[in-house]
């Protein structure tokens, strides 16, 4: 039945809608447009790992313990969270260790059920806490850095931005989007040139090695472009 739904012409419609259609059918009960959904907690993280090239695709094995703010287990139950290292930090979210009395905060913030009861339908919310995860969780800052490194593989600024944009959204940016991201890049570049040490600090977020041969100031500026893209509505929503 799922297959029937997802392969149907109805499901495969674009999710864009005219103002008139939105007014007539705000909740898409008549199915005149395609679905528009926020990605699930697992997808949000897996996507960031995949586009950054960090994703470890190993199948199976015991659960892993990726990044988690310190002290969360300690303050509730007096037990230490022994964070993993290396590939354990980049496995699919499916393999993340789940302690029900203190579940991974970056996941339950994105409406992952806490596994106390069966849930037929997940909630999909937009909250300030989700914004803070995507902006500041080392997992996403590190992923941004790796996306930025991939962007720097292109010659011109325009190509770099077009590549990053396409990587995350699956389409090319239009001129106004390119302009917004170029301005963002230029502003960040200016700030980081004043303080290359800060650029370096930002890049050192996360445990993965820094690739050699990249200019830290440009790299940091593009890290912020990539970080913005990870928070872009079109990236964490399915269209």
């Amino acid at each position: 039945m799922q297959r029937l739904i997802v392969t149907s012409a109805t499901y495969r419609q674009q999710s864009e809608a005219t103002p008139k259609l939105l007014e007539l059918d705000p909740d898409n009960k008549l199915l005149a447009r395609g679905p528009r959904l926020r990605l699930s907690a697992e997808m949000v993280r897996d996507q960031a790992l995949a586009v950054s090239g960090l994703l470890d695709r190993t199948l199976g094995g015991p659960a892993v313990k990726p990044y988690q703010p310190g002290g969360l287990w300690q303050e509730k139950a007096g037990i230490r969270y022994e964070q993993g290292s290396g590939p354990d930090l980049y496995r699919r979210t499916l393999y993340t260790f789940f302690k029900r009395t203190s579940p991974p905060p970056s996941l339950i913030t994105f409406d992952m059920p806490t596994r106390a009861q069966c849930v037929m339908r997940r909630q999909r919310t937009a909250t300030p806490m989700q914004a803070l995860v995507l902006l500041n969780d080392p997992q996403y800052v590190e992923a941004s850095r790796h996306i930025a490194a991939r962007m720097l593989g292109k010659e011109t600024l325009e190509d770099q931005i077009a590549f990053g944009f396409r990587l995350l959204t699956g389409r090319s940016p239009d001129p106004s989007e390119t302009k917004a991201l170029q301005t963002l890049y230029t502003e960040q570049l200016e700030e980081f040139s004043k303080d290359p040490a800060a650029a370096r600090q930002l890049l050192e977020t996360g445990e993965s090695q820094l690739q050699a041969g990249l200019d830290p100031v440009e790299w940091a500026a593009h890290t912020m472009v990539a970080n913005a893209l990870l928070s872009f509505d079109e990236v964490i929503e399915k269209y």
Partner: protein, 486 residues
Amino acid sequence: MSDPFYDAGCCMNRRHFFSKLSLGIGGAALAFLMGCAQTSDQLAAGSAFRGILNSPHIAPKARRIIYLFQSGGPSQLELFDYKPTLQQRRGQDLPESIRMGQRLTDMTAYQNSLPLAPSLNSFAQHGNSGAWISDLLPYTSKIADELCIVRSMYTEAINHDPAITFFQTGSQQPGRPSMGAWLSYGLGSSNEDLPTFCVLLSRGLQRPQPIYSRLWGNGFLAALHQGVQFRAGGDPVLYLNNPPGLNTGDRRSMLKHLARLNEMHYDVTGDPEIQSRIAQYEMAYRMQTSVPDVTDLSDEPEATFELYGEAARTPGTYAANCLLARRLAERDVRFIQLYHMGWDQHSNLPSDIALQCKDTDQPSAALVTDLKQRGLLDDTLVIWGGEFGRTNYSQGTLTETNYGRDHHPRCFTIWMAGGGIKPGLTYGATDDLGYNITQNPVHVHDFQATILYLLGIEHERLTFRHQGRRYRLTDVHGHVVQDLLT
């Protein structure tokens, strides 16, 4: 501050709309895949969100709650429930005529005898109301006339996890939304800069019973209604701080262009959810300022620390959390939930409970006093209490100077103050041995119904459809205890 719940003229939101639809499972699956069952509560205007209730069911008497949860089960017999008769019966076995088949925990069920253990503490009457309070609580005694002391609370659970879960979610089984989440869902946010439901943890000196983050979870409600834990240390809220090397200006610039990008996307799709997301990023940015602002105590005068005690200077203590609770209340946070762990005195009760009281008595009383001085007590409800009480008999050997007490669900004491609660009232009574309730029993669901009532909600009318039926905090139980209300 603007409070949508108190401002009339709210429109119906999407969940409200959907709650009126009855979808079969296939229909729900289709709706899920087609994205027409989005349940974000956000309306596009502003980041303060509206609740499901358009207007109060009844006139609210409280706008916010500070719940000082004393985790572990404080002994009512040492603190509030004075039982001189126990002195005369000291060491005698608990009569079956009193126990009446009450199940005991495994910790005392196999004990050879259940020797009645009177408290070593002395009690006196305090204030004009003449409330009985023990010498362990000198500061609380001074605010006796502000308090409504309920000595006839009872619960159904006998172990910590189910008992706390029952108190906070209305069910012993995990998975239901907690009280703060229900209020967020029902009433919406009262604040543009801070979360609606804030949680603060602290622990006593001994190794306490653990606590679980699902206690402040959203259960089957949206994650938007989750309690947000404030923590002592570098990141007062998880992921609040920018990564190293990134300053506020850089972040501002990045968010400005991100908003621009999202706005362009909105122009194409016209989806109001995008505006909601933009607003959430704005709020996240404001929280980066407002949270450190509320947790930074450097602007508090000396008098504050005289009132709450020196411990209030140390982040993460109960005293510091009580002070933080007042600061959050001043900023109109709706539900401020404290947990203080360490009340589980199975053994060494006389010495350990004294330590617990030393940590909690002064700050709890200071909070009530402070709120009153600032005119906030009128519309802030303060609740003090644990998940159950303790037995009138000793767990382990009863000696001249030492004893322990096991968990006791049949009677225990909590107190409330402020927002619509009758001050200077001692409510309910237990028998001479302090084992059963003899007058005005208050069940956990009655307590919950009363709390909702004070906030303007009829507990039977705040529901959420889940797994084929409507759920509510009080499930299918609960009566408002009118006797406690002003």
